[in-house]
């Protein structure tokens, strides 16, 4: 039996732990994860405000509760007592459905996050994880793509321009970075031999995948920031361009649900990063020398500590970096992250084959082949044919230079290359009160 088959059998054994909980225990676990998430979100919002304040030499919220810890809870209560606003142009059914659709997948993602090893809960031995199955990470991927619906539908249902632009923009952004994210998982699967999260944690007893597969780790870390719409990739909420993006028209608890979903997603991607690359709930090296470190309820501490390292990086990025421009952002996702992850997968596959087979002759050849193909491809892409043709086309097809504000009967923005023609202005100062002036302008 070779080591690969050996590890596969081990994975199967890990998975047999799941699906045996009595119903009451499942309910306790589910409610526990739900409550944990609510508390973690309230804590993270507070943490973000305090840390950003600290980075900006301010104090931040410190009034409600010790060190201001209850601030986010009170903000939530406040939102519940605000007036409900349904925009006239909104599609009421979808408008209400959208926050629900963004909140439910956010919670559901945590069903497969491993928080710890087997513990004894009310006399029953059970893993510290709601559930796990052979396609757990595929499930995460599916859930992530469902979360996008909440955003795109919120933008559409508001019946307003800024939310529509913001919703479309953020969903395009999320699907772009989801690819890089999905591709970065492949490396982990190659070495773990399973898609179940508990199996992946068990595969990292000797060495974290984050150290073994540094490029995958880096690609995932970048993609997770893009996927959660956080700074410096927070284009959907670019205040200077889109007001609030997709949630501009939302108020009260419906807004709170979007906020909640955003923060849960941030925690989710951090938790996946921990599970896949930093050994999950297993204690880091100096602590792991202590025998009891990986037993009982302690591992939940190591897990949360590792997860909050990522959360802190999220906050740090927000406090440090300016926002990307949309074209730069898309260019980075499509032209850097995706080819880089594909190239890395090819290299990894070859290395892994050497690992398993132990035959160098074929595989070394394949490796060289891959390298050559990629060099050629990069050279091909870098070359700048086509530019001349384009220039010629532009010279042959001049466009109208003067900007027509109502071209085609609609108010339109200036096209690229069109200029505003200065108009002679009438004196624009009118006698009378503000209200009278407004009446006059509207009437005229």
């Amino acid at each position: 039996m070779n080591p690969v088959e050996q590890s596969m059998i081990e994975n199967e054994q890990t998975l047999t732990l799941f699906g045996h909980d009595p119903v009451w225990l499942s309910i306790i676990k589910v409610v526990g994860v739900f409550a944990l998430l609510v508390i973690l979100v309230l804590f993270t919002i507070w943490l973000e405000r305090r840390v950003v304040s600290w980075m900006q030499q301010r104090i931040g919220p410190n009034r409600v509760g010790p060190q201001g810890l209850l601030q986010s809870l009170m903000d939530g209560f406040k939102l519940a007592f605000k007036e409900e606003i349904f925009p006239t142009a909104a599609d009421k059914m979808v408008y209400i459905l959208a926050p629900i659709l963004s909140c439910v997948p956010a919670y559901m993602a945590w069903a497969v996050i491993p928080l710890g090893p087997e513990v004894s809960m009310f006399g029953v031995s059970t893993p510290l994880q709601v559930t796990d199955f052979p396609v757990a990470l595929l499930y995460m991927f599916a859930i992530a793509s469902m979360g996008i619906y909440g955003i795109v539908l919120a933008g559409w249902a508001s019946g307003s321009t800024y939310p529509l632009l913001g919703g479309l923009r953020s969903s395009a952004q999320m699907i772009s970075y989801e690819i890089a994210m999905g591709l970065s998982f492949v490396g982990v699967f190659l070495f773990a031999g399973t898609m179940s999260t508990s199996g992946i944690v068990n595969g990292q007893i000797d060495l974290w995948f984050g150290l073994m597969l540094i490029p995958s780790f880096v690609i995932y870390t970048i993609a997770m920031v893009g996927e959660t719409n956080r700074a410096p990739f927070d284009l959907p909420e670019a205040e200077s361009e889109l007001v609030g993006g997709f949630h501009t028209e939302y108020s009260t608890m419906k807004f709170a649900l979007f906020f909640l979903a955003e923060y849960i997603n941030m925690l989710t991607v951090s938790a996946i990063a921990t599970t896949l690359f930093l050994g999950g709930w297993r204690a880091p090296w100096p602590i792991s020398l202590w025998d009891g470190a990986n037993e009982g309820w302690f591992p939940i501490i190591w897990f949360l500590a590792k997860m909050f390292i990522f959360v802190f990086i999220f906050i740090w990025l927000r406090g440090t970096l300016p926002r990307y421009r949309y074209d730069q952002f898309m260019r980075f996702g499509w032209k850097v992250l995706i080819p880089a992850s594909i190239a890395w997968i090819l290299i990894l596959a070859v290395i892994r084959t050497l690992d398993v087979e132990g035959t160098w002759s074929h595989t070394a050849l394949i490796a060289i082949g891959c390298g050559v193909i990629f060099m050629l491809i990069l050279f091909f892409v870098r070359s700048r044919v086509g530019k001349k043709e384009r220039k010629k086309f532009v010279d042959e097809h001049p466009i109208e230079r003067d900007y027509k504000p109502f071209a085609g009967g609609h108010p339109v923005p200036p096209l690229p290359g069109q200029h505003h023609v200065p108009v002679t202005r009438k004196s624009n100062v009118i006698e009378g009160t503000t209200e009278e002036v407004n009446e006059e302008v509207r009437g005229g």
Partner: protein
């Protein structure tokens, strides 16, 4: 406290829940399909299709095909329906379908196809009830290579290798089609940010930020010109497109006077100028 092992009771519960889950998912799936047909707005139709897809995915998972179930959600609801939603946004939010039939005899053709399809379904299902004996359970197939995913991988990469490679050809066709549909020659070569800033400093007398709209005004609307600290009206603060559309708002004489008075160090009370106290002024 020693953990006690759990009996296999939940499996029995799931086996009992099987038909229940089937009926729930089946009803949701059919309701989604009907909803897709009857809803007026295209986005509602898309949402109903999503509902159908997800309940079908749940059915797949309950039938011990978890990989297929997840892929159903990822590819169909996550990617293909998202493309539909994007197209609806691009085509127009309120655009409803035109009810004029452009194809001749479309109705009869559709009716004929529907009947043929129904006949096919009925024959297939009745055959399934009668003659075809099940060749093997999915549990056995899953167990053969150590799991659902491993079994699928084995089939894809050995027996169905041609189909797998042909899929990539299909993907090429899809991308080519999309490129052909969406290709647009640029109006002008793309200007970089660097070139734009050089151009701006060459052309404008005022290379910095323009004054923001609504400053010192009684409105903070973007169509109201700002008042400069000396009280004069800053027309540059209103976006050019709004000026060209004739949407720039007028400014009240009283506001201009007020700003000017304040900027000269006086307190403005009901149209009268009152000099500030020395202490208050500092």
């Amino acid at each position: 406290m020693t953990p006690t092992p759990i009996s296999a009771a939940p499996e029995a519960a799931v086996a009992m829940g099987g038909p229940f889950l089937f009926w729930v998912c089946a009803i949701i799936a059919v309701a989604g399909a009907v909803g897709m047909l009857v809803s007026r707005k295209a986005v509602h139709s898309a949402l109903f299709v999503v509902m159908t897809m997800i309940s079908i995915a749940v059915l797949y998972i309950s039938l011990n095909a978890p990989f297929l179930g997840m892929v159903q959600v990822i590819v169909y609801t996550g990617a293909i329906m998202m493309l539909f939603v994007f197209v609806m946004m691009i085509v127009g939010v309120d655009a409803s379908d035109s009810l004029v039939e452009t194809l001749k005899g479309q109705r009869w053709l559709a009716l004929g196809t529907a009947f043929a399809f129904a006949a096919l379904l009925i024959i297939a299902i009745s055959n399934g009830f009668g003659s075809i004996a099940p060749t093997g359970s999915i549990e056995a197939a899953n167990a053969q290579y150590g799991g659902n995913v491993q079994g699928l991988a084995h089939l894809i990469f050995t027996r169905y290798v041609v189909a797998f490679e042909v899929t990539s050809a299909l993907l090429i066709v899809a991308a080519l089609g999309a490129m052909m549909l969406t290709f647009r020659e640029r109006f002008a070569p793309k200007v970089s940010q660097e070139e734009m800033s050089i151009e701006r400093f060459k052309r404008d007398k005022h290379p910095g930020n323009l004054p923001g709209a609504g400053t010192y005004a009684r409105h903070n609307a973007v169509d109201t010109p700002a008042l400069l600290p000396d009280g004069s009206v800053a027309h540059e603060s209103v976006p050019n497109a709004l000026i060209d559309r004739g949407s720039e708002r007028a400014v009240n004489r009283a506001d201009v006077d007020e700003v000017r008075t304040i900027s000269e160090g006086f307190d403005y009370v009901d149209g009268d100028s009152v000099q500030l106290d020395e202490e208050e002024g500092q």
